[in-house]
Amino acid sequence: MTRDEICSRILAIFSEKFEIDNPGLDDDLREEHEFDSIDAIELLREIEVMLDSQLTQEEKKSAMTIRTINDIVAYVIDMAAVRA
């Protein structure tokens, strides 16, 4: 998957699952969209579906510091690279 494809998929998840439509790619999701750790858990499940692979506890823990859509895209790319 390309970066753009990942980005559009993440944005679709945000709209469907979290009722957050078209957030800015560098918006602080916590501050501006009330995206919290519970959402992060649900997002991680969706990322596991995208990657077709389970994330480890350590990988999930590192995702708790993610703040922006760009951070999420970078995280997915990193996780995909580890599994390639």
């Binding site: 519970i38 992060a40 708790m64 510091t65």
Partner: protein, 270 residues
């Protein structure tokens, strides 16, 4: 009223105030003794046994917490005959639910814990810093309120296990205002509880607690035991939102809960 009568009335009022304070102080000291010595002597050994031998340590700790706080409120009933406790039986019967409740006093959380043998709750991170309390809350599987720093891994693990806990009959107790209301008016509701309910496809139970703040006033050390008071816990609504519907909206669910709590409080939102 003559001068001597008003002097006598003032003396009577003063004596009554002194007596009331003495009763409040005695009850408060006894309750604190239960919290500290009572815990160490009567409950501590059971917690140790549960920590070592219980096949399901979390469940055992939750049950012990429940018993400990039941004991606390039993003491309250015995020592404070002017406090009347009216717990809606349908609240006690709740299972597998995310219970959201208004918050007016520190004793709200322990009152709800005393009602459910299988429960968990969300606790402010700072409370996890107290050594012994930390051990008890960790053992019972309580969740930290924030997910940063050393709490991140714990939060992930606890949140992931919640859907199974709920479907297995446990209740999650949450005060979505996050802090006590000083006026009785309903504050802004955090969305966390509702997101967890959605994640676990769990029923939402909306409860209303009243007058615990008259017994234990915010900012006061002493329990206010002598004033006649009626403490109630009512179930305002319990339903399972249609989480799979395309029309499902978390914001609408939160708004409905807010309306229920506000209608019942009779006070406008803050």
């Amino acid at each position: 009223m003559s001068h001597s009568e008003s002097t006598r009335a003032a003396a009577f009022q003063s004596g009554r105030a002194w007596w009331t304070k003495a009763v409040d102080l005695t009850a408060t000291v006894l309750l604190w003794a239960y919290f500290t010595l009572g815990f160490a002597v009567f409950f501590g050994p059971f917690y140790l046994v549960a920590a070592v031998f219980a096949p399901d340590r979390r469940r055992a700790f939750q049950w012990l917490n429940h018993l400990f706080y039941r004991g606390f409120f039993l003491l309250c009933r015995l020592m404070m005959p002017r406090q009347h406790w009216c717990i809606d039986p349908s609240v006690r019967n709740l299972r597998s639910s995310v219970i959201v409740c208004n918050h007016v006093s520190y004793i709200d959380s322990i009152l709800l814990v005393s009602l459910f043998a299988r429960h968990t709750t969300i606790v402010k991170n700072r409370l996890f810093r107290f050594p012994f309390l930390n051990w008890v809350m960790m053992g019972a599987g309580y969740l930290p309120s924030a997910s940063e720093g050393r709490m991140a891994a714990l939060m992930v693990e606890r949140l992931e296990s919640l859907p199974a806990f709920l479907s297995g009959g446990g209740n999650l107790i949450v005060f979505p205002e996050g802090t006590r209301s000083r006026t009785g008016a309903i504050g802004p509701l955090n969305s966390g509880a509702f997101k967890i309910a959605k994640m676990g496809r769990a029923p939402l139970a909306v409860c209303r607690v009243r007058n615990t703040d008259r017994l234990f006033r915010p900012g006061r050390f002493l329990f206010n035991t002598c004033q006649a008071n009626r403490i109630t816990v009512d179930l305002l609504a319990c339903w399972t939102p249609d989480y799979n519907s395309e029309q499902f909206s978390l914001k609408k669910v939160i708004e409905r809960v807010r309306m229920l709590l506000e209608e019942d409080s009779g006070k406008k939102k803050v």
